[in-house]
């Protein structure tokens, strides 16, 4: 009984102790990276415990840089699957040291966690059937618009509807594949979502030429690696590693690999060229939250 109590106290103490991730990595010889199962080309799984994608591979490079910096002969890189619901708590309580998936850096989350410099700028766009005649958000009046439950795009859409007096009907898919099915089967006239997810779904469609991405960028969201709060040394190490990859052109190569070349498992191309917003973020590395990018 006493032993259990002692263990419990120890666990609690670790929970509140000042975050020192570098020391933790050095002492344990291992780092736990957060992995996503389906965040488009940013981070996804091939099954069998294999995690890949632009941000996943980037996080592995960061781990390699940390190993070098700490002078460890061997670093055990573990993956822990996270979801939208549990990613923040798992980073906070130390289960995951670094989460590089599709997490938007916003002001609310900054109260709980820190973010590395932005590595990808997500643009929310509109996908439609190529022959639909819809070319911008204004054409959506009286139409049915699909988006996915549990994404920030729903909120973006709601704000736009209110601000621009565009009156459309909303339907919600339970995941992205479902939302795309709504568009494909004609239950929805448009699918509003992160550009890379739209591009990815279109590339995997039976006939990709039937769909196109149109109209203005509805919102821009900085996507960045998430780490524990109040750990400046760890954040600096991660940021330096990313800045190094930007400078050496390695990050651009990774982007090309995951967004412009055929990728597993189906060996199709996402085909989403590097956006101006992401180029800007790389030219001037920063960890500004989404709210700083709000339009006008």
């Amino acid at each position: 009984m006493k032993k259990t109590l002692l263990a419990l106290v120890a666990v609690l103490a670790v929970g509140v102790a000042h975050a020192d991730t570098l020391k933790k990595i050095k002492d344990s010889g291992s780092i736990t990276l957060g992995a996503r199962e389906s965040s488009g080309a940013l981070a996804y799984t091939l099954g069998d415990g294999k995690y890949v994608g632009f941000h996943t591979e980037m996080s592995q490079r960061i781990a390699a840089d940390l190993q070098k910096q700490l002078g460890l002969p061997k670093l055990d890189v573990k993956f822990q699957v996270v979801t939208s619901q549990n990613r923040v708590p798992l980073v906070q309580n130390g289960t995951v040291d670094l989460e590089c998936g599709s997490t938007t850096n916003n002001a609310t989350r900054q109260k709980d966690v820190s973010f590395a410099v932005t590595t990808y700028m997500e643009e929310v766009r509109i996908a439609v059937k190529a022959n639909s005649g819809i070319n911008s958000i204004k054409d959506l009046t009286g139409k049915t618009v699909a988006t996915t439950t549990g994404t920030t795009s729903v909120q973006t859409l709601r704000k736009h509807e209110r601000a621009n007096n565009v009156d459309f009907k909303e339907v919600f898919g339970k995941d992205h594949a479902d939302s795309f099915l709504l568009l494909e089967s004609g239950r929805a006239d448009a699918f509003v979502m992160d550009g890379q997810i739209l591009a990815g779904n279109i590339s995997k469609a039976k006939n990709p030429a039937d769909f196109k991405i149109v109209g203005e960028v509805l919102s821009i969201e900085p996507i960045a690696c998430m780490l524990r709060k109040d750990d400046p040394a760890f954040k600096k190490a991660v940021d330096d590693s990313i800045k190094g990859m930007i400078k050496s052109g390695e990050l651009a190569k990774l982007y090309d690999k995951w967004f412009m070349q055929p990728i597993p498992p189906s060996n199709t191309k996402v085909g989403l060229p590097l956006s101006q917003a992401t180029k800007d973020a790389w030219a001037n590395p920063n960890d500004r939250p989404m709210e700083d990018f709000a339009k006008k």
């Binding site: 916003n106 909120q155 898919g173």
Partner: protein
């Protein structure tokens, strides 16, 4: 976790001109609407099918069996998708039916198979002599059911029907899969927008509990109201 509560998020604007609390109440309304309407469908259809399975007519009994086996051997989520994506693809006129109606029927028919099983069990639990007595008195078969068998059978199966009624509240969560704005969808959406998942899920859990519990109390009230002293279930 060292997290602090922030219940204020329910008073925040969701970007569309209403607070999260107002949104959650509207979502609760959708959950209850789906559940109650589906419950009506389930009880009506389930009772009819259950009765059919006990009649002497072979064809009717077979129809009852077929109905029950069809709807209880396919997972609920799959049935919802069949109603939403597959059937309207075959019968194009169904395409304009709101998803709310489709999900009421999907959930109602799914549960009707379970209700029919219980109604059948209730009828079969009665001594055979009751049926013969009714018929021997000169009652027609429908009259025997109406005045002799069903009043007893339904009293016996109120407790399992209570469970089904509570299950329907919980199963109504599948409606989110076909974009009915009910509680589960609210929970997934609001937690993403506010990053306060713990508060959102606790509130939604509370509402589900309250809804199912109220159904439970209503059913218990009915059970006591209709009980006949000296028969099954009237022991308290």
């Amino acid at each position: 976790m060292g997290q602090t509560w922030d219940w204020q998020i329910f008073l925040r604007d969701d970007g569309g001109g209403r607070t999260y609390l107002e949104w959650m109440m509207s979502a609760w309304g959708w959950t209850l609407s789906v559940a109650v309407l589906a419950l009506v469908v389930a009880l009506v259809v389930g009772s009819l099918v259950g009765i059919l399975r006990t009649v002497p007519h072979k064809g009717l009994a077979f129809f009852g069996e077929a109905w029950t086996e069809l709807f209880r051997n396919i997972p609920l989520l799959v049935q919802v998708f069949l109603w939403y994506h597959v059937i309207p693809g075959i019968f194009l006129s169904l395409r304009n039916v709101p998803s709310f109606i489709l999900v009421v029927f999907a959930l109602g028919f799914f549960t009707s198979a379970r209700v029919s099983e219980q109604v059948k069990a209730g009828i079969q639990a009665l001594p055979k002599g009751q049926r013969y007595a009714g018929l021997a008195m000169g009652l027609t078969l429908p009259q025997t059911y109406r005045y002799v068998l069903l009043p007893m059978a339904f009293r016996i199966v109120i407790p399992p029907l209570t469970s089904e009624s509570m299950n329907i509240i919980k199963n109504s969560a599948v409606a989110f899969a076909v974009s009915v704005a009910e509680l589960t969808m609210f929970a997934m959406q609001a937690q993403e927008e506010t990053s306060r998942g713990v508060e959102v899920y606790l509130a939604v859990t509370g509402l589900y509990f309250v809804s199912a519990f109220v159904i439970n109390r209503i059913a218990l009230f009915i059970e006591h109201k209709v009980q006949i002293p000296g028969t099954l279930g009237a022991g308290r």
